[in-house]
Amino acid sequence: MSALEVRGLRHQFDDDLPVLRSVDLSVGPGEVHALIGFNGAGKSTLMRAALGMLRPDAGSVHLFGVSVPGADAAVWSRVGHLIDTPFVYPELTVRENLWAAARLHGVPAGEVSAAVNRVVAELWLDPWAERRASTLSLGNRQRVGLASALVHRPRLLVLDEPTNVLDPSGVVLLRELLKGAASDGVAALVSSHHLDEVARIADRVTVIHAGAIIGELDPQGVDLERAFFEMAHAADEAAAEGTAREQRS
C-alpha cells in the first residue's frame, strides 16, 4: 500500500488558470520521490492538496489507504511536513518549539522529552537548543522546521523545497536524514529546484509542468538538468500545437 496516493487531482483558483490538471502520483514506503518543476508549476499546490490544506476541485488523495477528508488523528500522526513556513514560534526556545510540535503531532506526554532530545541531536541543534527562536538565523529556523516535521517519527514526509536557506552542511545533513529515513521504510515526497541534489537523494523524479505531470526522469541518468529542460520544452510545444489545432478546427 502506498503511503501517499493521488489520483486525477484537479484544481483551479478563482478566475485563474488551472493549477493542477489531472495529476496522478504515488509515494511508496522506503521511497524518496522528488517533484521538480519551475516556479508556479504546481508543486506546492499539489503538496497542499495532498495534505488536506486545500480542497481540490476533483480527484482523490489517500494517505496509507485512507481518504484525506476521513483521515483521523491516527493517520495524521504518521505524517510530517514542512510546507511554506517552518513550525517556529519566535517567543519559544528551540527545545520548546520541538516540544510543542511533538505534542501536537500526538507524541505521548511521557515520551516527548526523549523525542525532542533525539531530533535536537539529529539536526545538530544542540548549540541553539535553549535559545529563543527569534534569535536564530534563517538556516537554523529551517532546521527547527525540519526537526518539527521529524520529531514524531512520521512514516510519510512531505517537504516543500526543504534545502531552501540551508547552508551546505545543512543540505548534507538533510540528505543523510532522508536516506536514513527511507532505509527505515519512511516514504518521502520532496520538491526541489536543485537538480543535482535531487539526483543524490531521489529514487524517483517526477516532472510537473503547468499543473500537469509530464514525465519521470532517471535520477541516475546523465545530465538531469538538460533532460528536464527538454521535457518541459517538449510539453510547451505539444501544448502550443494543441491550441493551434483547436483554433483551426
Binding site: M53, L54, S77, H81, T85, P86, E91, E96, L104
Partner: protein
C-alpha cells in the same frame, strides 16, 4: 492537559504581548482613575480640575470607582481585543497556521484552546485589576470602602469580566481576515459603535454598551438597565466562538 491547551498555554506564558497587556490592564486604569480623583479633589477653578470633577460621579471611593468604570469599559475591550487579535492573527501573519494542518491535533482543538485560554486570561486580568483598585484606594488614603462602595466594586468586577468576553469576536475577524490588521479594524469598529449606540440612545440593546451602562448606573446619568440584559455579552462570546471554530475547521491554506 490536552496538547492544544498545553501548547497554547506555553505560547501565552512566553509572549511579551500578553505580559505587557496584563500589566497595562491591571495597573494603568486604576492609576489613571486615582489620578483623576486627585485632580478633581484639588479644588479651585483650574480647567483640569473642573474637567475631572465633571467626569466623576462624586468624591472618595464613588468618584474613584466611577472614573475607573468609564476607563475600563473601553480599555478592557481594547486591551483584551489586542491580545485576542494577536493570538489568532499571528498564526496567519507569521504563516505558522500552515504547520497546524495535517496534524494529529485538529485545528478546531487549537482554536478552542485559544478561546478558552483567552477567556480565562481576561477574567483573571479583570479580577486582578479590581484587586489592585482596592489596594490603590487603601494605599492612597481613601480608607476602607463602605457598603455602597462594595456594591460598586461588585459592578466593576462584572464589567471587567464581561469586557473580556466582548472582545472575543476579534478572534473571528483575525481568522477570517488572516492577520492582525482586520482584528484591529474590527476592534475599532466595536469601540466606536459602542460610543455611538450609547449616544444614540440604543445602548441598552447594544451588547458592547450594556455592561458599562449597567455598571455606571443611574447615578452617572445612565438609564436603568436590567441585569438580565448582561447575558448579551456571553451570548456574543459564544456565537463568535462557534464562528471562529467553524472557520478554523473548514478554512483552506491560501
Amino acid at each position: 492537559m490536552s496538547p492544544a491547551y498545553a501548547v497554547e498555554a506555553l505560547k501565552l506564558r512566553r509572549s511579551r504581548v500578553v505580559l505587557v497587556a496584563t500589566l497595562a490592564l491591571v495597573f494603568v486604569p486604576p492609576g489613571m482613575a486615582r489620578g483623576l480623583l486627585t485632580v478633581a479633589e484639588q479644588g479651585g477653578n483650574d480647567p483640569a480640575t473642573l474637567k475631572a470633577q465633571a467626569m466623576l460621579p462624586g468624591g472618595g471611593w464613588a468618584g474613584y470607582l466611577g472614573g475607573l468604570m468609564q476607563i475600563y469599559a473601553t480599555a478592557g475591550v481594547v486591551g483584551v481585543g489586542i491580545v485576542v487579535g494577536w493570538c489568532f492573527g499571528r498564526e496567519y501573519a507569521d504563516r505558522t497556521v500552515v504547520s497546524l494542518y495535517a496534524s494529529a491535533t485538529p485545528r478546531e482543538a487549537v482554536a478552542s484552546a485559544k478561546l478558552a485560554l483567552m477567556t480565562l486570561w481576561s477574567t483573571a486580568v479583570g479580577l486582578a485589576m479590581v484587586f489592585v483598585t482596592w489596594l490603590f484606594g487603601l494605599a492612597t488614603g481613601l480608607g476602607s470602602p463602605d457598603d455602597a462602595a462594595w456594591r460598586t466594586v461588585a459592578r466593576l468586577t462584572a464589567l471587567a469580566v464581561l469586557s473580556g468576553l466582548l472582545a472575543l469576536p476579534v478572534a473571528a475577524a483575525a481568522s477570517v481576515g488572516r492577520g492582525y490588521l482586520p482584528a484591529i479594524g474590527a476592534l475599532l469598529v466595536l469601540v466606536v459603535l459602542a460610543q455611538v449606540a450609547t449616544i444614540a440612545g440604543i445602548g441598552r440593546w447594544w451588547p458592547w454598551s450594556v455592561p458599562a451602562m449597567w455598571a455606571m448606573g443611574p447615578e452617572s446619568g445612565m438609564p436603568t438597565i436590567s441585569s438580565a440584559t448582561l447575558l448579551l455579552a456571553p451570548v456574543v462570546a459564544l456565537v463568535s466562538a462557534v464562528l471562529t471554530i467553524r472557520w478554523w475547521r473548514h478554512a483552506e491554506v491560501v
